[in-house]
């Protein structure tokens, strides 16, 4: 009961309403401010100085104490100002493998005319990244979160904070940005060789794309391997062209869930498939992926690799692609 109430109160106080899409403007109601431990010590020192000034009747002591006290109050306004009215938008997060660190890009936009210094971003209050945001500028900062499991990783509640200028106050704002990062399964360690490629039926009937024989040039498409770009042609200013090859036989490499040993668990299988995807891509093979309930057709290149890895990442989850 108490926990529920507290949770409710926290949500109300910090305006936590779940992930928000679009731009978050750090208005007054969103920036919170409290003295830091240094701020408390500062106050204690001021109190000592005030007592000393009263006792020794030090007029200049009074002046110093009050000047520093006023400066402390001033610093609070400065700290608040350093955060207020920033506009925050979530950016992209490149997919990573489980076990790696996912970097969520956060755009901090300062449309005002004051320089913002040392704005920190953290997700766990331990590791923080600091940026300065000059006037009328948008700066991208990133929070790194360790991706433990495959699937969709959400950054959760991020904290944007600052202690500028004097470190006496800590102003912060909770950001619940609608961001996600696809986490691929961690590839199994190399060992299991790629499954044998099957030759398609009706040999010699069609000539599919292969690796061995050069057959001509075509326009470059995004995702084509850089190894196949006709760099000589590019050097002659003919634009980017991709060399095309034909296989002597159309080999079809199917990375098949059901081809894996029976005793393997789901995650092990996904790991192994991820390893194969990487290996097949590295070998510049054309490959397809068969998962229970999903099949990715034969293709090659970066796009195919990413498509397959994403299918592996999202296997069995309700998450849809971002």
């Amino acid at each position: 009961m108490y926990a529920a109430l507290k949770n409710h109160f926290t949500n109300w106080l910090f305006q936590l309403r779940g992930p928000q899409t679009g731009v978050i403007v750090l208005g007054q109601r969103r920036v919170f401010i409290l003295p830091t431990r240094q701020g408390m010590t500062f106050a204690a020192v001021l109190l000592m100085m005030l007592t000393g000034s009263i006792n020794y009747n030090l007029s200049l002591g009074f002046i110093l104490t009050f000047l520093l006290g006023a400066m402390g109050v001033n610093a609070m306004v400065y700290t608040f100002r350093n955060m207020a009215n920033l506009r925050i938008a979530g950016g992209r997060a490149r997919p990573v493998f489980a076990g790696d660190t996912a970097h969520f890009i956060v755009h901090v936009d300062n449309s005002g005319r004051t320089h913002r210094y040392a704005i920190g971003l953290t997700h766990d209050r331990k590791e923080s990244v600091f940026v300065d945001v000059p006037p009328r500028t948008t700066v991208a900062t990133a929070v790194g979160i360790l991706a433990r499991r495959r699937g969709i990783l959400r950054p959760g509640r991020l904290t944007l904070f600052t202690r500028f200028p004097l470190g006496l106050f800590y102003a912060w704002s909770y950001l619940e940005l609608d961001m996600r990062c696809v986490v691929y399964p961690r590839p199994a360690s190399p060992g299991l060789p790629l499954p044998p490629a099957t030759t398609s039926a009706g040999a010699g009937a069609e000539r599919g794309q292969g690796q061995e024989d050069f057959s001509g040039l075509r326009q470059y498409h995004l995702g084509d391997s850089p190894r196949h770009i006709a760099w000589k042609a590019a050097a002659r200013d003919q634009g980017l062209l991709t060399k095309q090859f034909t296989g002597r036989a159309d080999t079809e490499l199917w990375l098949d869930w059901s081809a894996l040993p029976v005793g393997m668990g789901v995650e092990e299988r996904l790991s192994q498939l991820a390893r194969w995807v990487l290996d097949a891509h590295a070998a510049e093979l054309s490959f397809g992926l068969r998962l229970p309930g999903e099949t990715i057709e034969m293709a090659m290149g970066h796009a195919q690799r990413d498509r397959c890895l994403e299918a592996l990442a999202l296997f069995g989850s309700d998450d849809v692609k971002a």
């Binding site: 240094q38 030090l58 200049l60 110093l64 000047l67 006023a70 009215n85 040392a118 500028f164 470190g167």
Partner: protein, 651 residues
């Protein structure tokens, strides 16, 4: 550098060291030399550690240094408490903390220690130069603090100085409100350490040959006086201080207690004035002969000594009135008169014999006084600041030997002769004269104006002032000390008034110092009450003061916040854009807002679809806007027409 655990960069260490050295510098003359040497070594060591990226020394080593140095301080001061020892310890800790400073957290602690060290300087000096220097220190410390809290791209230090200057300047209004309205209590909250007022000069309760002439060498201000009317003539400016009746053969001393009540008869109108007395840590308060008014928290005795209840530890101000034409003490008690005749046996036999022989020659007290004064005037007596030393029979040596001396020599010799001749006499110490500051129209009385004279008692008129110095050196009374002593005698520069420019500078400076004293250092509970009365608040209670202070502070903080937060949002400067945004706002109020990604033309097309009735007006406005914003020739007339159309537009 906003991570609390990150090691400090070299430049941070350097700036910290520099700012702390600035604050600690004035203490360098106050603490033992080896503390300074130790702390300088520690600071240099710290800088080298940062420079060469070495590990910091172990805590055990530092602990050993702490213990040894603390013992050293104890041996030097015989205590580790009190002002001087406390400051020495603080300076020492500062140096050690530098070597123990690993991260931002430690650096912040040092910064706070630095601020605290500023206030310890005020225990020794609160003059204008000290205040300015300390302000500079606070400025640099604050800039260092700013530097510590920047992210990686750190602006150069002069920028930090500017920002910290702005920060401090913006704090001044709030500081003033707090300073003026913070409820003041007078007096210490607990006992002050013994050494709190070491080195404060002033008249003491005893007078030996040489004690006044030591004071003459100081140009420190004793008190300042503002007269309500014209300043009286120099010959009346006898500022009465401790009255000394008891003579033990070497020194005269004032009685520890006051007796009787002040009674006098006077004619004429009294002069009224206000005295601002510098702290001298004794109980004396000074007034012109003859004080006719009581001072709050002080008593006046039958000998017209004014004594404060407590030693004057702070600058005090009091109103006073004096009669210049008076008689008093005709009905003096026999006990007091007996005391004023007592001479210690076995001292100054020749002087005593001279006094007795004078008595035999003349029965008239007044004639006798005249004769002694004539002796001083006509025989070879000199008035000098550097008299030869006197032996055990100081008066004999002076009268019959050296014959040169300063006012206390004459006063002492005169009083001894009078007592030997059977005339009750005593010594009054105080100040004579003063210097008029034309700029501020007040009188400055310095320690250099210290003086000693005598009072003798006649049966008919009571106590009468006789100044034997005046017999030897009339100039001393008429023109002040600098005219009276020979040029070769050492006198403080400020007391000699040789150069006109120097004089002017001196007066300007003293005026500033006086204003500073009156308004900054002398801002006492009384001054606070007076200030409040002048704005119409008569009896300010603590509660009222606090409420007033807090509400004014709140107003200042709100105004400041509004001022600081005004530049946060993007400001639209283009008048065409302002008008267009107004137009959009009108439509938004009607529920047709412009989408973020919608250009003016797209918006107009959509509006024409949903509100065909507005199509014509919208089209005209959009066309004008596009022409003004993106067209090649934007005329003032087109802008005016656009603005008019927008203001006429209703959805």
């Amino acid at each position: 550098m906003t991570d609390f655990k990150q090691p400090l960069a070299l430049r941070h260490v350097l700036w910290l060291t520099v700012s702390l050295a600035m604050v600690a510098a004035p203490h360098a003359w106050r603490v033992p030399w080896w503390v300074i040497a130790l702390v300088a070594t520690l600071a240099a060591w710290r800088a080298y550690v940062s420079y060469a990226r070495l590990p910091l020394p172990s805590r055990w080593l530092l602990l050993a240094i702490v213990i040894i140095a603390t013992i050293g301080i104890y041996l030097h001061y015989r205590t580790i408490f009190g002002r001087d020892a406390g400051v020495a310890l603080l300076v020492l800790m500062l140096g050690l903390k530098l070597l123990e400073m690993r991260s931002l957290r430690d650096a912040m602690l040092l910064i706070l220690l630095g601020y605290f060290l500023v206030i310890t300087n005020f225990l020794y000096s609160q003059t204008i130069p000290t205040a300015l220097y300390m302000l500079a220190c606070v400025w640099v410390i604050t800039a260092t603090m700013l530097t510590l809290h920047h992210a990686r791209d750190e602006p150069p230090f002069h920028r930090q100085l500017r920002v910290s200057g702005v920060l401090l300047a913006q704090s001044v209004p709030l500081m003033l409100v707090l300073f003026l309205l913070f409820p003041r209590v007078s007096g210490p909250l607990w006992g002050l350490p013994q050494d709190a007022f070491a080195g404060v000069s002033g008249l003491s309760e005893t007078m030996t040959p040489g004690s006044v002439s030591n004071l003459i060498l100081s140009d420190a201000v004793a008190f300042r006086v503002r007269f309500d009317s014209a300043i009286p003539q120099p010959k009346h400016l006898y500022w009465r201080g401790p009255v000394m009746t008891d003579f033990d053969g070497v020194s005269w001393s004032a009685s520890r207690f006051l007796y009787g009540t002040p009674e006098f008869t006077a004619s004429g109108t009294p002069v009224t004035y206000e005295v601002t007395l510098e702290p001298h840590n004794k109980r004396w308060m000074f007034a012109l002969d003859l004080p006719a008014k009581t001072v709050p928290r002080a008593l006046t005795g039958a000998d017209f000594q004014i004594r404060s209840f407590d030693p004057v530890a702070n600058r005090v101000r009091y109103d006073m009135a004096s009669f210049l034409d008076y008689t008093y003490g005709a009905g003096e008690s026999p006990a007091a008169l007996r005391r004023a005749l007592r001479l210690p046996p076995g001292f100054n036999p020749r002087a005593v014999a001279l006094g007795r022989s004078l008595r035999q020659k003349s029965a008239d007290d007044r004639a006798l006084v005249r004769e002694v004064l004539a002796m001083f005037r006509n025989q070879n007596f000199f008035y000098t600041l550097s008299p030869p030393p006197l032996g055990q029979h100081s008066v004999d040596d002076f009268l019959f030997g050296t014959r040169s001396g300063f006012c206390e020599y004459y006063a002492s010799a005169f009083a001894v002769l009078m007592r030997a001749a059977g005339i009750p006499s005593r010594i009054v110490t105080g100040y004579l004269g003063g210097e008029v500051n034309q700029l501020g129209n007040y009188l400055i009385v310095r320690q250099a104006d210290a003086h000693a004279w005598t009072e003798v008692w006649f049966r008919d008129t009571g106590w009468v002032r006789v100044d034997p110095t005046a017999a030897v050196s009339p100039l001393r009374v008429e023109s002040g000390i600098s005219a009276a002593v020979p040029r070769s005698d050492p006198l403080p520069l400020l007391v000699r008034g040789d150069f006109e420019l120097l004089r002017q500078l001196r007066f300007t400076w003293d005026l500033m110092a006086n204003t500073w004293n009156q308004w900054v250092l002398g801002y006492t509970p009384e001054r606070q009450r007076r200030l409040l009365t002048s704005v119409g608040i008569d009896d300010a209670t603590w509660y009222l003061l606090t409420m007033l202070m807090l509400s004014l502070a709140a107003v200042i903080v709100i105004v400041l916040s509004a001022f600081m937060l005004r530049r946060l949002k993007a400001r639209v400067r283009d008048p065409a854009r302002i008008a267009y945004l107004k137009f959009c706002e009108k439509l938004r109020a009607k529920g047709i807002p412009r989408e973020p990604a919608e250009g003016p033309l797209d918006y107009a097309r959509r509006l024409a679809r949903v509100r065909p009735d507005l199509a014509a007006a919208v089209a005209a406005i959009t066309q004008l806007y596009v022409a003004l914003r993106y067209g090649a020739h934007a005329s003032g007339a087109a802008l005016r027409e656009f603005q008019q159309r927008v203001s006429r537009f209703t959805a």
